[in-house]
């Protein structure tokens, strides 16, 4: 086994570290703590945040990559070890080889036979057309009729296991948090649901394709889960890349005004006057050309896909800073007129200290709100970009690519609905949770809504 650190893996772990530090720092500020308390004192806040954490957890597990050592080919004498070109992640291991059970083509969920007829030979060698048996589904059954009772049996076992595991996990949390006034039970309920579903999926997938298979015969449930990492990473990395640009320029423009302000305003008006999708599309295509011209830079297909992915994050980040920059400029203008900044000037406090002590802490809420609001729109944008063909490399699982490959399937008879449904379900849950959570964060942190509650 040989660990492999993709650039995006590195970034995501740096990101997680930074977020942890950020939250630790925030704990010292009672006002911020009060705002977070308001977010988490609602059941909705608890549920959505738990769901988001689940997605982030999957993404993190899926970011521990390695290449399997290949069995030495018999007969060759070599001390050198060879590694699989296929990159595997910790998540793949946990899913128990779910991604390696390929069929020949489409099959519906829990199906035992393929979706399309094939030419086959019977024992006598006569040619006939029929639906072939699937290779990785229902092989353990003695008769097809037993299928649903078998599924039910396995589901009940899975449910029991799931409940047991959740009982242990929730019990541990309960021991620590039972005195808390926050509605933790909502989170525990969500956790139990997610754990039961996960255990069920892992236990049952060696015997059936829970969400069927796609045109290439790959397991749809597995693909949908692999799409999680792409979505979560894209949603966070792109914003993160954009933040330093937007914050620096915005604060500078709002604080120094005059010429600096003119230049920054010119920059963001120019940026935002270019139709975003065109800029993104053009940039991605150009980067693809670059990758194609230099194939020797990347040792695996995954690395190539990863390079394109990082580039996409950069491009999305670089093209989307203007709106946040405008917001921060406005807020900085407002804050630097406030009397506490004037007082700091009267004390001869230096510019850099005024910015770090007085301006930045008071625009953090805008950054935070933008971060959570942008997350869901970036996940949605990924699907659209992948559909246009300027999104994620097809070698990397993503919901956009799934939708793209499946959009002609609805015109088949009978309809192939499961690929779309898989992508739809996973994407919808993430985006809905993120949107609802973003609403709560905005309500808690936006001083306008806050003051309205206070004065009413």
């Amino acid at each position: 086994m040989k660990p492999l650190l993709l650039w995006s893996d590195l970034l995501i772990y740096v990101l997680v570290l930074m977020l942890c530090l950020f939250f630790l720092r925030l704990r010292s500020d009672p006002q911020t703590r009060e705002h977070w308390r308001r977010v988490f004192s609602t059941r909705l806040g608890m549920v959505t945040f738990t769901l988001i954490l689940v997605y982030v957890g999957i993404a993190l597990l899926d970011s521990l990559h390695f290449r399997r050592a290949l069995e030495p080919v018999a007969g060759t004498q070599s001390s050198e070890r060879f590694y699989d070109n296929q990159v595997t992640s910790a998540l793949d291991v946990m899913l128990g080889g779910m991604g390696e059970r390929f069929e020949r083509t489409y099959s519906s969920p829990f199906a035992l036979i393929s979706f399309a007829k094939e030419n086959m030979k019977d024992e006598n060698g006569a040619l006939y057309r029929d639906f072939p048996q699937l290779e990785h589904a229902g092989r353990h059954l003695s008769a097809p009729a037993e299928r649903w009772t078998d599924v039910l049996k396995k589901s009940i076992t899975a449910l029991i296991w799931g409940l047991l595991i959740s009982a242990v996990l929730v019990g541990m949390q309960w021991a620590f948090l039972r005195r808390s006034s926050l509605p933790w039970y909502a989170s525990w309920l969500t956790q139990t649901t997610v754990i039961c579903l996960a255990v069920w999926l892992v236990l049952i997938s060696p015997y059936y394709h829970v969400l069927g298979t796609d045109r290439g015969g790959a397991d749809v449930a597995y693909q949908s889960i692999k799409g999680v990492r792409t979505a979560v990473l894209l949603g966070t990395l792109a914003t993160l890349i954009m933040l330093p640009i937007a914050v620096t320029l915005g604060v500078m423009a709002g604080y120094f005004k005059g010429r600096v302000d003119d230049v920054v305003q010119y920059l963001y008006t120019t940026m935002s006057s270019i139709p975003g999708i065109l800029l993104i599309a053009a940039s991605v295509l150009l980067f693809q050309v670059y990758i194609d011209l230099h194939p020797d830079f990347f040792s695996t297909g995954m690395e190539k896909a990863d390079a394109r992915f990082i580039a996409l994050c950069f491009i999305l980040g670089v093209t989307s800073w203007s709106s946040l920059c405008r917001l921060i400029r406005g807020e900085t203008l407002k804050i630097s007129q406030l009397e506490f900044v004037q007082a700091a000037h009267a004390f001869g406090v230096s510019h850099s200290r005024i910015v770090t002590r007085h301006i930045l802490p008071n625009v953090v809420h805008i950054i935070l709100i933008t971060f959570v609001l942008d997350f869901s729109s970036l996940v949605l944008a990924e699907a659209v970009l992948s559909y246009i063909g300027v999104g994620i490399d097809p070698a990397m699982g993503s919901w956009g690519n799934m939708i793209n490959s499946a959009r002609s399937e609805l015109s088949r008879e009978p309809v192939v609905w499961w690929t779309l449904s898989g992508a739809f379900f996973f994407m919808f849950v993430l985006v809905l949770a993120a949107n609802l959570f973003a609403d709560l964060v905005r309500d808690a942190f936006d001083p306008r809504t806050g003051s309205r509650v206070a004065t009413a």
């Binding site: 006057s273 139709p275 065109l278 150009l286 959009r407």
Partner: protein, 325 residues
Amino acid sequence: MLIYIIRRLFYAIPILLGVNLLTFTLFFVVNSPDDMAVSQLGAKYVTPEAIHSWKEKNGYDRPLFYNPDAAGSDALTETIFFSKSLRLFAFDFGRSESGRDITTDISTRMWPSLAVAVPSFVVGIWVNICVALLVVMFHATRLDRWIVFVFVAMMSISYLFYIIGGQYLVAKTWRLVPISGFHAQGQFWKFLILPVLVGVVAGIGAGARWYRTLFLEEANQDYVRTARAKGASEIRILFRHILPNALIPILTGIVVLIPSLFMGGLLIESFFGIPGLGSYMLDAIKSQDFAIVRSMVFIGSILYIIGLILTDISYTWADPRLRLD
């Protein structure tokens, strides 16, 4: 007012110049004229002479920004940037890399785009405002909270699913309209119904929710209390006081969107096979036709700037407090 518009138009020049410079640099940072020649000629026919003659024929044999060989002002004009990008200011789009006349292409493809975009735009705004007004009447009830939840859920569904779902239900299952395609003559409206419907429905979640917030923000203002103290009914307050005031932020949101009418149908056009500017763009991107991309970016930017100016003008119309100068 006139002075204001003129000033804004002057201000647009450096912005458009910046836009051109940016797209130009972006393109040539990764893609040298040699690379372009290779991809246009096809790998088979690549010889140094062929590349050279292609570059000469298409005007890429000059330096990018500054020509040290030329004298005087020609040092700036005898360059690729000047000849390819600055000509756009005279709306001279030239020919695409594959030799088609871009101006003709754009003028023929403009109409199908507008035929889809204008109805979805107008109907969309109308529907959103109506839905939002309806919801505001139920403000602070349990129903209100559920409707907002539904809005958020609708926002959380990818645009792609609206298109796919619409095609599947309306066109395939119910067979009400054709799935895709477009004819300029005769019953062309039949082809428009579904794209417009999808566009409107997909926008309700975000749109109505946004307008609802605007209305509620206005409902908290002091003048609404004054109107109540006068004895005005809630309905009257909503339509006579809140709506006209909320129009101001609504207008800014809307007018900026107008330019996207030309571009916005990117997805819709490609899904429904409508030969508009969106699909034109998409094809150009896929075939890496820089001349078309450049022209479309330029047009897009001009429309955006016009949108901004229109926004300011419409502001003065909706808000008597503003005067432009």
